[in-house]
């Protein structure tokens, strides 16, 4: 089963993402602040969905960390944000795709399928 890590500082959105993605047959791990990024080395996810403006950690930094390490570089990162302007930094921080909030389930699922 493919594993997806979702990072967002809104618990309701995390619950929702879990429901949607589990319904599609993925194993989902969620984090409110990206803290589990440190733990994920034992078991790397196959995809990361990341909010950019987190309270505490900065989504941009997490993304850059993922993309700068040899062992995690291959993991696709989807940024999602309520700031449409975040689309413009997608490429600069090495993320693979951008999904503006709010989104339709189909959009999310299609995007995830493209990378898994």
């Amino acid at each position: 089963m493919k594993k997806i890590l979702v990072v967002d500082d809104d618990a309701d959105i995390l619950d929702m993402m879990q429901l949607i993605l589990k319904g599609e047959g993925y194993e989902v791990q969620t984090s409110l602040n990206g803290a589990c990024f440190q733990q994920m080395y034992s078991e790397l996810p196959d995809l990361i969905i990341l909010d950019i403006l987190l309270s505490g950690a900065d989504g941009r930094e997490i993304c850059q960390q993922v993309k700068s390490r040899e062992e995690t570089r291959h993991i696709p990162v989807i940024l999602f944000s309520a700031h449409f302007s975040a689309r413009d930094i997608t490429a600069t921080i090495g993320a693979d795709a951008f999904l503006p909030k709010p989104f339709h389930l189909v959009e999310l699922i299609n995007l995830v399928k493209r990378y898994l």
């Binding site: 809104d10 309701d12 959105i13 929702m16 993402m17 429901l19 949607i20 319904g23 403006l53 309520a82 700031h83 449409f84 302007s85 689309r87 413009d88 909030k101 709010p102 989104f103 339709h104 389930l105």
Partner: protein
């Protein structure tokens, strides 16, 4: 902990500071005394007052010995008896300290970017502190029998005005430049600064030094200084305004001394008073203009930040709402519960509307802040239009949306934004043709331009409104039976997007028969 700071104050450094300041104070005072004084002591051009107040504001009250020494020595060397020189020195020191105290007490901002800062300086700190210096100075001269009582009044007046002008022009000039502007200056702005500088200098030379003058007559063309000052104030804020005023003041003083400026009818000292009053009014006017502009800019920026933040905060709960509604939709669809599904569909439509409104508001605020970024990618227009028309067809059961013509070629632009324009036009067409059955999207192209039109057969737009329809916040109020909901920003955003793609957008409409909104885009490069 200020006490600790005091004790740790390194004295050699402190001494160097005071001596440096003393040297500057002394030399500028010497210069002032050489440029015409009333009764030898009340100068017309008194740079030190403005300099001293700025120094106290920037480096603290502890610089006062520099002022005292400078003022004392320069007056002693100018022939004042010892006690009189001490008196004048005390007056000048108190002037800088009291002015700085008033400004600090009322939290004066060195940037002078608020009207209250300008008024605080002009109405309170400047006249009061100069009053102290003039009164103590002239009293010292009178008590030391240097001047007679009869001439105290004119001496006092000259002293007061000279000091005020110095504080009015020089203090804010130095304060606004005390922080070097940070960030890179774009080439365009750099060029504008160069052009403005040239303009200020040429106007200054024409008005005050008689550049291009062919005969010996002096023309009263002082009003010419307004255009460059207004330019500087509007475009470059308080710093720009004060720099222009400062440059013009130097030219004006030089011109008046040389007898070339329009202020040359009487004795030099009288001429300088007239000139200073003129420069004073100019300075106050430009500073107020610049401050009001700066306030306005700050307000606009705050508004944009607020809208951007509010938009983000509104979108987060919407994301959850939309997600859960769609999850419910999936669940009830599996159970075949049609009634609940129809309710959920209505909720989803409303959420979509809300989401679009928020996005429009955010786009608008970004557009105004000049922060809306555009991608440059190859756009397959035919595919884009097909996809949008298919999606929007689901939202209306009454209208048949058809596509006529083909683009056949790709254009370069921002696919998402161009899609937004099309969605806006087609949704408007649906909204404003409540009784019609058709909407047609036309595509036509020449060798270098692609034109896309969206035609409806609805209510149309009265002739008088057609030109205004692309303006921000503009909405057509039919007044009679109904108005249509909306913020009046959709078309404005669409228009701006097309303009940013080097395209054009226009409308043809006949009231009661329908409207056709069109836009044309250039095919760039690729043939």
């Amino acid at each position: 902990m200020p006490d600790l700071h005091h004790r740790n104050y390194r004295y050699p450094w402190y001494l160097i500071k005071i001596l440096t300041f003393f040297a500057i104070y002394f030399s500028t005072a010497k210069l002032g005394l050489s440029l015409g004084a009333v009764n030898r002591f009340a100068t017309r051009v008194w740079v030190p007052s403005g300099l001293a107040m700025a120094a106290i504001l920037l480096f603290g009250y502890r610089l006062w010995p520099g002022i005292l020494m400078g003022a004392f020595l320069v007056n002693l060397l100018n022939g004042a008896p010892l006690l009189v020189a001490v008196g004048i020195g005390i007056g000048n020191t108190l002037e800088a300290l009291s002015g700085a105290y008033i400004l600090k007490r009322y939290e004066f901002s060195h940037a002078l970017d608020h009207l209250r800062d300008v008024l605080l300086l002009v109405l309170l700190a400047m006249p009061l502190s100069a009053f102290i210096s003039a009164t103590i100075g002239v009293s010292s001269l009178f008590l030391g029998k240097v001047i007679a009582f009869s001439s105290s009044y004119s001496t006092w007046g000259a002293w007061w005005i000279g000091d005020m002008i110095s504080i009015l022009i020089l203090t804010p000039f130095l304060l606004t430049w005390s922080k070097w502007p940070h960030g890179k200056v774009p080439v365009k702005i750099f060029a504008e600064i160069g052009l403005l500088t040239l303009f200020v200098l040429v106007i200054g030379l024409i008005v005050f030094l008689g550049l291009f003058r062919t005969d010996h007559r002096v023309y009263p063309v002082t009003y010419l200084v307004f255009p460059p000052l207004i330019w500087a104030s509007l475009r470059f804020g308080p710093r720009g305004a004060l720099s222009a005023i400062f440059a013009l003041s130097i030219l004006a003083v030089v011109g008046t001394i040389k007898g070339l400026s329009p202020f040359t009818s009487g004795r030099l000292s009288d001429n300088l008073v007239l000139l200073q009053s003129f420069m004073g009014i100019l300075a106050v006017t430009s500073m107020i203009l610049a401050a009001v502009m700066a306030e306005r800019r700050e307000f606009e920026q705050r508004k944009d930040e607020f809208i951007s933040m509010a938009g983000h905060e509104l979108k987060t709960p919407l994301t959850s709402l939309q997600g859960y509604i769609e999850l419910l939709h999936m669940k009830f669809a599996q159970q075949g519960n049609q009634e609940t599904l129809s309710y959920l569909a209505k909720m989803a439509t409303q959420i979509n509307k809300l989401s679009k409104l928020i996005t429009d508001l955010l786009d608008l605020s970004k557009m105004q802040a000049g922060k809306l970024a555009f991608a440059e990618e190859a756009v397959d227009v035919d595919a884009l239009i097909r996809e949008i028309v298919e999606n929007l067809q689901y939202t209306t059961s009454q209208h048949q949306i058809s596509i006529e013509g083909m683009a056949q070629r790709e254009i370069v632009g921002d696919q998402e934004r161009l899609g937004q324009v099309l969605i806006n036009l087609i949704t408007n067409a649906i909204k404003y043709s409540p009784h019609a059955k058709r909407i047609i999207v036309h595509l036509a192209h020449t060798h270098d331009t692609l034109t896309i039109s969206v035609q409806d057969f609805g209510i149309g737009i009265p002739k008088a409104y057609q030109e205004k329809i692309f303006e921000r916040y503009f909405r057509v109020y039919s007044g009679k039976d109904r108005t249509y909901p909306g913020l009046g920003i959709g078309l404005y955003i669409a228009y701006q997007i097309i303009e940013r793609h080097s395209g054009k957008m226009w409308v043809e409409s006949c009231e009661g028969q329908g409207s056709t909104f069109s836009f044309s885009l250039p095919f760039v490069g690729k043939a």
